[in-house]
């Protein structure tokens, strides 16, 4: 999965939970729950939605990786089951870019 694909899934799921959120105003590095006024149920639903769409498991110990958009993108890129179709290189390398 490329960072762009990860980002698309993240915002697609978010739009179902907080439809008023405008992607262009979200700060990728700022705490998401604070920024978008998400409560613990919204936050859980968001992670469940991402898990359903990508197949990436998010164990309890890794929940803190999802506090920001940047963290979530990096996590999905690193943990998605297959590298992106056109790219055969290391998905970890993509996260760094």
């Amino acid at each position: 999965m490329t960072p762009e694909q990860a980002r698309r899934v993240i915002f697609e799921v978010l739009a179902d939970i907080a439809p008023e959120v405008d992607e262009s105003t979200v700060d990728d590095h700022h705490d998401l729950t604070e920024q978008l006024d998400l409560d613990s149920m919204d936050y859980l639903n968001w992670m469940v939605g991402i898990n359903e769409e990508t197949g990436v498991d998010i164990p309890q110990r890794d929940v803190s990786e999802f506090l920001t958009i940047a963290g979530a993108v990096a996590y999905l890129v690193t943990h998605s089951p297959e590298p992106a179709g056109a790219t055969t290189g290391s998905p970890g390398g993509l996260a760094a870019g």
């Binding site: 697609e12 799921v13 739009a15 179902d16 939970i17 907080a18 439809p19 008023e20 006024d37 409560d39 613990s40 149920m41 859980l44 639903n45 992670m47 469940v48 939605g49 898990n51 359903e52 769409e53 197949g55 498991d57 998010i58 164990p59 309890q60 110990r61």
Partner: protein
């Protein structure tokens, strides 16, 4: 023949508009089936049927007129009791349509947000083959199914118009701008109106119908009634959650993200069990006397993103295990936020909990929702220095408050109730 009456829709809610029927004359209905959608000033509610039979006639058509609670809205012919005593199978006629957004039996139930999306896009979940884990239906499945070749809407839409397919964000924007979705040219896949389509539309002259303002008026009525009539008393205590949260973390380590239990579920279960021990906080004040409830239907205050609040019930909350409690809580919160609650959930909470801790508040002082006689407020979990065996230690601590009706109980009983919740939370494995 049974006259089906517009049911009670919650405290201070004595009227509603009929939005749509989900059944037609000739359809067989069973107990608990959702047969219509109505709109009060506070919420859109799904109306459940409490009779078994066949719809003979729909007495009221969807429209903007207000109907009083108790108005006959349909006529149901009771099923001829066949010679099958004992457990009766739920009657379903061969031609009966599946309800929109209901999952088929024998497959994993789609999560509430997926059901909501299916409803928004008018996709029948029973016709879908899920591509997710174990055949679960995913968002992509629902979106892919919202194609022009899909089956037409089964519900009878408001004032005869087709329900427009639109993404949740498009619906939100249209609502805010006062746009009618049927006027928006759709460019999304399968003729779906996208957010971009709505933004491209010139803003119309007509004023948007303000759902939030209507909800505000309903809250104003109920809360003014409460503060005028109910002599509140307030108690507060700190509860050490060290044991409970440690235990929960161990439980969650083994669970998938979809099955994870939030601390709120634990707190609700402890509150429900506390009401079993102190039943005089569980019930209603009606006609100058307290009427205790034999069931514990725990109301949960849910804030709506656009503004406002609803407090629907988790039925028989004391009898649910933690996994069930979490599933019910998640379903209830999601439906409340997508304006899809059921009439019984609004009409029968026996005591309510508000959990403002998520919003960073340390202490809440709730206003009782009449005709209930108590309400619990839960604040934020805060790391606090506490004395453990004579030495200082840092533990997660929550501030729990009780607002109760002094006509029914005194502070002593209220104090016992908070102490009971505290005791139960120190033994989380027994919850």
């Amino acid at each position: 023949m049974i006259d089906f009456l517009l049911p009670s829709l919650g405290a201070d809610m004595d009227r509603a508009k009929l939005n749509l029927w989900l059944v037609e004359p000739g359809d067989t209905v069973h107990k608990g089936q959702i047969i219509a959608e109505v709109e009060t000033e506070k919420a859109v509610l799904e109306v459940e049927c409490w009779d078994e039979g066949v719809i003979e006639e729909l007495l009221v058509q969807p429209g903007p007129e207000w109907l009083s609670v108790g108005t006959p809205i349909a006529r149901i012919r009771a099923l001829e009791s066949a010679d099958t005593p004992g457990p009766v199978e739920t009657p379903r006629s061969p031609g009966q349509k599946p309800l929109p957004a209901r999952p088929p039996a024998g497959r994993p139930e789609p999560a509430p947000p997926i059901r909501h999306l299916a409803h928004e896009l008018d996709v029948d979940l029973s016709s879908l083959q899920g591509t997710g884990e174990g055949g679960t239906i995913t968002r992509s499945d629902v979106r892919a199914a919202a194609a022009p070749t899909g089956k037409p809407a089964t519900a009878i839409p408001i004032s005869g118009e087709q329900r427009v397919k639109a993404s949740p964000r498009a619906r939100f924007l249209a609502d805010r701008l006062g746009l009618d979705l049927s006027d928006v040219a759709a460019t999304g896949s399968g003729g779906m109106v996208s957010a971009a389509d709505v933004e491209a539309q010139p803003v119309p002259a007509r004023e948007p119908e303000d759902k939030v303002a209507a909800m505000r008026r309903a809250i104003a009525r109920s809360m003014a009634h409460s503060k005028r009539e109910i002599p509140h008393y307030y108690l507060a205590t700190h509860i050490d959650l060290d044991e409970a949260l440690r235990w929960l973390e161990i439980q969650n380590a083994e669970r998938s993200v979809a099955e994870r239990i939030l601390p709120a579920a634990l707190l609700l279960k402890a509150t429900a069990l506390g009401l079993r021990e102190i039943p005089d906080l569980n019930g209603h004040w009606i006609d100058d006397s307290f009427r205790p409830s034999s069931s514990i239907h725990l109301g949960v205050a849910v804030s709506i993103r656009e503004g406002g609040l609803v407090a629907p019930a988790i039925h028989d909350a004391d009898q649910l295990d933690l996994g069930e409690m979490m599933a019910r809580l998640r379903d209830l919160v999601n439906r409340a936020r997508s304006w899809r609650l059921r009439s019984s959930e609004m009409s029968d909470p026996t005591m309510t909990v508000t959990n403002l801790g998520d919003r960073g508040v340390e202490t809440a002082f709730p206003v009782i929702i009449p005709p209930q006689v108590a309400m619990v407020g839960l604040g934020k979990v805060v790391d606090t220095v506490v004395a453990v065996d004579g030495s200082p230690a840092v533990h997660p601590v929550i501030h729990a408050t009780l607002s109760a009706d002094h006509r029914v109980t005194d502070g002593h009983r209220g104090g016992l109730f908070l102490a009971t919740i505290d005791r139960l939370l120190q033994e989380p494995q027994s919850l």
